[in-house]
Amino acid sequence: MNHLSRFAIPLIVTLLAPAVLAEVEQQPRAPGIETKGYVWNKPDEEKARALKHKADPLKGKAAYKGCQGCHKPDASGRPDDDYPQLAGQHASVLIKQMVDVRAGRRDNPKMHPFVGDWVVSAEDVADIAVYLNSLPTPTNNGKGDGKNLALGKKLYEKDCVGCHGDNGEGDEGKFYPMVTGQHYRYLLRESRQIRDGVRRNAYPKMVTVIKKYSDADLEAVSDYMSRLLPAKAAAK
């Protein structure tokens, strides 16, 4: 073997290797809460397209097939892990979160390959959101250990109820999520990430409010939220 090929072959291999590895799409990274001048829920062309779209739940049901391997056919997610419950969630919230994952404002490399713009369009996102909103919210979601519910109630009523509502119903018009029916583990993980600045598409006012929360506070309030019942069921 001559000198040239002794060097050329490893060089070619080195040059080719990243190209092959790069085949799996990486989630982009867009500026979020860590950036000066961050505006929560800033208007965005793709989100506007999705929100404007006259969504079709039947098309959404077909497109959701690509999601149910993780979120389950009834969209109830996993109480034992970190896949959230989605059934009955506000369409606006689902659209915002999916658009934020696509744009890289919410870091979720696990989900990104299945919701990227080469897989679903902005209109598909809206169809999926409307379909999920039409599904009944289960009440057998994962709960906490139930040991600190009095503290959880106190914190929720002081700091959370103003946005997330008496029954955890959130607000479709304001993009505030429904927390009713959500798994304890997911609520805890997300509230920690919001407190710690890791969830980069968070609402800054919420970060300020829960900044002083200890882990035990977050556990208590997450447990309390996981036991909230949809307004209709609560009235019974």
Binding site: V20, E23, V24, E25, K65, G66, C67, Q68, G69, C70, K72, P73, R78, D80, D81, D82, Y83, K110, P113, F114, W118, V119
Partner: protein, 204 residues
């Protein structure tokens, strides 16, 4: 050329193309049977249940899915040294006919080689691996692996073929599915690939 005439021409052409596109997706299984007997039989068998585990069983697979694969072998979006010249020699109608014939055939049951892997395979099939982010296969391919136009039938498939395709997704050789299976296979261990391939072979 008058730009309006040119635009009109493009419009007409587009209309014509989409009309042909619709016609192509509903093939004639009787004509397809002859094409299969002439062109596909050696590897895929007379009825899409070929005897060789390197070549996939096609019987009962959705015609729309098969047609898409044939088109993509022809235009090299899906690469296969074997299939490229074969699909390349078929007309659009012939592809649709062959796809319709295979779709109409009864799938033969698969064979399990290592039953000790079935439990692990079942777990992946029904529940995925949330730690690594592998979705449940059943989510897209259906509880029984029956598949549809977008996600192929897998039930009863040769475990050799399933493993080969998962390997191709993993390495990036195959990516004609909006790269979703690439993300999935990339997160699977060799052991998980073996186990799920056995479970798939066992699905009736």
């Amino acid at each position: 050329m008058n730009p309006y005439l040119k635009l009109l021409g493009i419009g007409l052409l587009a209309t014509f193309h989409s009309a042909v596109g619709i016609a192509q997706s509903s093939g004639d299984p009787a004509k397809g049977k002859e094409i299969v007997a002439k062109t596909c039989v050696a590897c895929h068998g007379v009825d899409g249940n070929g005897p060789v585990p390197n070549f996939p069983k096609l019987a009962g697979t959705d015609a729309g899915y098969l047609l898409k694969q044939l088109r993509e072998f022809k235009n090299k979006r899906r690469t296969s040294e074997v299939m490229e010249p074969i699909a390349g020699a078929l007309s659009a109608d012939e592809m649709a006919d062959a796809a319709a014939f295979f779709a109409s055939q009864k799938p033969a049951p698969g064979t399990v080689k290592d039953p000790s892997l079935l439990d692990a395979g079942k777990k992946l099939w029904t529940d995925g691996n949330p730690t690594s982010g592998v979705p449940a296969c059943a989510g897209c391919h259906g509880d029984r692996g029956q598949g549809d136009e977008r996600y192929p039938r897998l039930a009863g498939q040769y475990s050799e073929y399933t493993q080969d395709q998962l390997g191709q997704f993993k390495s990036g050789k195959r990516k004609n599915d909006k790269r979703q299976m690439q993300a999935v296979a990339d997160r699977m261990s060799e052991q998980e690939i073996k186990a799920v391939a056995e479970y798939i072979a066992n699905l009736p």
